[in-house]
């Protein structure tokens, strides 16, 4: 406890809470059809994004997947441009061309997100390669899910990265499901961290709902990468509290989440934010009134983000052809 400054701990809390409040603010707009693009909420998984990104510098790179609102925000992205993107507005981070699955913020090192499963892992390796060639000590992080560990490209990437000692951290967010498939139906062996072993990549399995544990692991990984002894593999065990796509359902528009209610209830008790909040209160890092104040601020920020998105215009029809080439 002592080794962290109060500011740092509050910041971690704020980062997670910003993600959660933003995610939850999208539920109604999705249900009533104001948000039309497919949205993969990351409620419940905030500690992974927050813990990993807290170990990075602004100049370090991250790449995301289809479920990347949290990655975008944790790396320093603004809520208003995120929400505007989800609404398809010109003021969105991808100017309304990408929607929820294509978030980008290069100034903060968020190099993009894309829903082709495992599709951005090699790109993250490439950013690490660029850093390596230029001897910059910039670290690159690839965020992907348990589902992505079934794509061959991940294994090619681990091999290449290890062979060239690239400063990349592979972060697998294991939430036990890939759409309708439980991880046990996808892999004969569910200890995902072990897949890095044959490539001589140090690997750690961490409680992905414990933000400090994630942070400590990430710190170790970042140090190794800056030191020239990357890559590093982190498996963060976590759970999404919402559906695969949309708020509650595994299939948008129907009530067919295949996950057992007891399992969901069990994970609700492991809510990374509620537990961290209690921990901060118990250890006098935050007082009740400070917590309320933080919540009030974030609620307001999120509300304003929706107003911003609402007031923004859609892309101009005359700009349909824009951005195909630079």
């Amino acid at each position: 406890m002592k080794k962290y400054s109060k500011d740092f701990l509050r910041q971690l809390y704020r980062t997670m809470l910003r993600i959660r409040v933003c995610e939850e603010s999208l539920v109604d707009p999705i249900l009533n059809g104001d948000v039309r693009c497919p949205v993969h909420l990351c409620s419940g998984e905030e500690a992974v994004a927050a813990g990993i990104c807290a170990s990075l510098n602004e100049t370090d790179y991250i790449f995301g997947n289809h479920r990347s609102h949290g990655h975008f925000l944790a790396k320093g992205g603004r809520i208003d441009v995120l929400v505007a993107e989800i609404y398809g507005k010109e003021t969105g981070c991808s100017r309304g061309r990408g929607g929820s699955m294509h978030l980008i913020d290069p100034e903060n090192g968020m190099m993009g997100a894309a829903p082709i499963v495992a599709g951005t892992i090699s790109l993250a390796v490439g950013a690490a390669l660029a850093s390596h060639i230029r001897r910059e000590k910039r670290v690159s992080v690839s965020f992907f899910g348990d589902g992505a560990t079934n794509e061959g490209v991940l294994f090619e990437c681990m091999n290449l990265a290890s062979l060239k000692k690239l400063p990349i951290i592979f972060v697998c967010e294991n939430n036990f499901y890939a759409t309708h498939m439980p991880v046990a139906e996808c892999r004969p062996e569910c200890d995902i961290a072990d897949i890095a072993k044959p490539f001589n990549i140090p690997n750690v399995r961490v409680d992905g709902n414990n933000v400090l544990k994630v942070f400590e692991t990430a710190k170790e990984a970042v140090a190794a990468c800056r030191d020239g002894s990357g890559p590093f593999f982190i498996e963060a065990i976590t759970y999404r509290l919402r559906g695969h796509v949309g708020p509650d359902d595994n299939i948008q528009g129907t009530h067919t989440d295949i996950r057992p209610q007891e399992e969901i209830d069990m994970w609700k008790k492991k809510d990374p934010i509620i537990n961290f909040e209690r921990y901060l209160l118990d250890n006098d890092v935050l007082s009740e009134s400070e917590v309320s104040e933080i919540k009030r601020e974030i609620d307001q920020e999120v509300r304003e983000a929706h107003v911003f998105a609402d007031n923004s215009s859609y892309p101009e029809e005359s700009e349909l052809n824009a951005y195909v080439f630079k």
Binding site: R97, P315, N321
Partner: protein
């Protein structure tokens, strides 16, 4: 016969083809993401797992390259594989086994081993899904020697072409469009084939030949009906197969009408419409009274925002406007 007037949804027509083919031929099996749940493939796979079991109805991890390659290898080894990609976009990981391996195998091995496989890809556009979840990539596959490519637009053809594709001894790419899945039409209950490589005239006319395929057939027929009010009689050809092309059907029509319009839900450059126009130009140049027109997607990735999406996808109006322009010249 009342049985033969039965109406069925497009997706259930394909489903019936699977039930019947898997029922009659034990070498037929279905593999791919989502076949055990309505998650990706809607009701196209309904009841198959229950009836044929997990050895022949195989849901898979997200491993398109390996799964597709395995389906190819199984087809080389005595099975008739159907491998589904619930979005064509995901199929890109599988282009090596499709293009390098399956398409070439028979030829490059001197006809010693053929690959009876169906690569089934679903086009899944719109809904602000953006560039990686909306692509209609049929012409990439149509470009490849050794692949046949079918694109049914009606429930009748969805069933008949799936049966033909499964029975074919060669790799056949079967492409449907999610927007077609709920359309209803007459589907006979028995097993029947729609020949691969044969188009169909869906409406007769003397002024313009309009060639289309798959979902955009709907717009083509609407456009023809609208133009008929202006006394422009459009002959609408549903290609049904984009490789090999039913050139005779198109040429015969163009020789009658002297005008060619092509509507395709793929991109313009190097696309299906370009290919149709090219062979008509080569083989019916003398009958042409006007330059051909192409109604396609613009050469752009799919945008997310519906403000742009509504401009992006070609509509009935676009076809009407294009044809009006060519007739009034």
């Amino acid at each position: 016969m009342s049985l033969n007037n039965r109406k069925l949804q497009y997706s259930l027509a394909a489903n019936e083809a699977f039930h019947q083919m898997m029922g009659e031929d034990e070498s037929v099996f279905l593999i791919g993401q989502g076949v055990k749940s309505p998650w990706y493939v809607g009701n196209t796979a309904r009841g198959l797992l229950e009836r044929f079991g997990p050895d022949r109805v195989i849901d898979t991890p997200v491993s398109e390259n390996a799964v597709t390659g395995a389906a190819v290898g199984a087809a080389m080894s005595g099975m008739r594989s159907v491998v589904v990609h619930p979005r064509m976009d995901f199929m890109m990981y599988a282009l090596d086994p499709i293009i390098n391996q399956a398409a070439n195998w028979y030829y490059m091995n001197g006809g010693k081993l053929s690959v009876p496989i169906v690569f089934w890809g679903i086009i899944n556009r719109g809904g602000e899904q953006a560039a990686q979840h909306s692509q209609a990539l049929h012409t990439i596959l149509g470009h490849i020697p050794g692949l046949k490519v079918v694109m049914p637009s009606t429930p009748y053809d969805a069933k008949g072409l799936m049966i033909s594709a499964i029975k074919d001894d060669n790799p056949v790419v079967y492409i449907d469009d999610r927007w077609l899945h709920s359309t209803e039409g007459v589907v006979p209950e028995e097993i029947y084939e729609v020949p691969i490589g044969k188009g169909a005239i869906r409406r007769e006319g003397n002024d313009v030949t309009l060639v289309a395929v798959s979902f955009i057939m709907r717009h083509a027929l609407e456009a023809a009906a609208e133009l008929a009010q202006e006394n422009i009689e459009v002959e609408v050809i549903d290609l049904r197969t984009i490789k090999p092309l039913d050139k005779d059907l198109v040429l015969e029509s163009v020789k009658k009408t002297g005008r060619l319009a092509v509507a395709d839900s793929g991109w313009k450059t190097y696309g299906l419409a370009a290919e149709i126009s090219a062979f008509v130009f080569e083989e019916a140049f003398d009958s042409l009274k006007a330059p051909f027109v192409r109604v396609t997607l613009p050469d752009l990735p799919a945008p997310a925002s519906s403000a742009l999406e509504k401009l992006y996808y070609p509509t009935t109006k676009d076809i009407v406007r294009a044809i009006r322009g060519m007739v009034n010249k």
